[in-house]
């Protein structure tokens, strides 16, 4: 059985899907088929108070498109006042100059914009929205001019894995401080389109080898991955010292109705932020316990990297096998094992 690394008293980060409603219908979307009532503003604030009291430091809004919530800025201002450090991910369609200054004034420390290709037609097709490339480029300009830290969020998949350099060049031109390379998740529409969009394990290896060449280079935006299978390239995010997936060890996810899941891609409900004590759940949840003490299965059993990667991304393994302990389907190690 694996050692989880250090487990702190509460999550540091909560990824918070405020709403699943969206003005886009992207090919990979994990949440398109999800349904959950949205909490009204008062209950969002109560949820935020409970997060802050438990010691959560960061909340990152996703969804869904967070900017569809008309109360977003007002609620965010109050959440910031509670001490939460806020960020969000947006497709950029609604992010005009006024929205950019509003987000800045509400206290957001970083805004992530989805941008999946330097080629407008490729991005638009992936996002299923003509003009979305132009709108997200414009949104980036609004954010940078407003003085908000810009992160470009890219879902790495078959449409873009061989075009990293031009994508990073575009991100740099846009003024991005960071490029977050999200690994493709086989959840929701991502599972439906897995065979056309996901890469083969060796393609993932080659992509990461290339991407790691840009990491830590001050000439480029900061590159972030958060993919535990990087351990087999000796490049796992060393700064947090947590082996394997960080979900359930450093972070949790909130659904729009306040239900708590280990991450946005694992649909196992642990409790509800308005009903349950977060620190108790964090300490005692059997699901989190099993995620923190995984057992090597299949090819992982004999793999020398297991202590560092703990089977890779638990969400991907669970999505394709229904087993939290199964090997990550992206893993390129021991392909015949």
């Amino acid at each position: 059985m694996s050692a989880p690394g250090k487990i702190y008293s509460a999550p540091l980060l909560v990824n918070w899907s405020l709403n699943y409603s969206c003005n886009f219908s992207c090919e990979h979307c994990y949440s398109r088929f999800e349904k959950a009532d949205e909490l009204p503003a008062g209950q969002v604030l109560e949820a935020g108070r409970r997060l802050a009291q438990a010691g959560v430091l960061f909340a990152n809004f996703g969804g869904g498109e967070p900017l569809l919530r008309r109360d977003l800025l007002a609620v965010s201002k109050e959440l910031t006042a509670l001490g939460l450090s806020l960020s969000l991910n947006s497709n950029g369609w609604l992010l005009d100059e006024a929205a950019a200054t509003g987000l800045r004034d509400a206290g957001f420390v970083s805004i992530g914009l989805s941008l999946d290709s330097h080629r407008p037609e490729v991005h638009d097709r992936f996002r299923n929205r003509t003009g979305s490339f132009d709108r997200v480029v414009a949104a980036a300009g609004h954010l940078v001019r407003a003085g908000v830290k810009l992160t470009i969020s890219t879902v790495v998949c078959r449409i873009n894995h061989r075009e990293l350099t031009p994508l990073l060049e575009l991100a740099k031109r846009l003024g991005a401080a960071q490029v977050y390379l999200h690994n493709f998740k086989c959840s929701g529409k991502g599972l439906e389109h897995r065979f056309e969009l996901d890469l083969e394990p060796l393609e993932w290896r080659d992509f990461y080898r290339e991407a790691l060449g840009f990491a830590g280079n001050p000439d480029w935006p900061e590159i972030s991955f958060d993919d535990p299978i990087l351990a087999s390239l000796g490049a796992r995010d060393a700064e947090h010292g947590i082996p394997g997936s960080t979900c359930g060890k450093l972070s949790l996810h909130l659904r729009p109705n306040g239900d708590i899941t280990p991450c946005g891609f694992i649909p196992l409900v642990l409790g509800n932020i308005l009903r349950d004590d977060l620190r108790t759940l964090w300490r005692e949840s059997p699901v989190l316990e099993s995620m923190r003490h995984k057992t090597a299965q299949g090819k992982c059993a004999a793999c020398g990297h297991y202590a560092a990667c703990l089977g890779g991304c638990t969400a991907r393994a669970f999505a394709v096998s229904g087993d939290l302990n199964a090997p990550d389907p992206h893993c390129w190690e021991n392909p015949c094992g």
Partner: protein, 107 residues
Amino acid sequence: MELSERYRRRPGLPWREEQEAAREALAALAAGRDASGEGTLLVVERGRITELNLLGGEIWKLCDGTRDVGAIVEELLPRFEVERDELTRDALEFLADLVARGWVVPA
């Protein structure tokens, strides 16, 4: 760095005390064990988690700009079994590191 200087934590830098770990470290100290390797307070910057030990965490919490370094040492002396000179040296060294990181700023 002088004992008369005042520092405060950089506004907006996320941090959290791990209260259970701090209690355990205090209990270890009371029992005469070394707890200097135990992290009791977390500072998170750019995704990197840094753990401060009990003494570092207490200095950190006192860096609110209302007291100078000498006052911080005086406040901690009764709580740690250590000579004044040693604590002063440790506090100055620790604060110099925090200044270099940009985690505390002159008040």
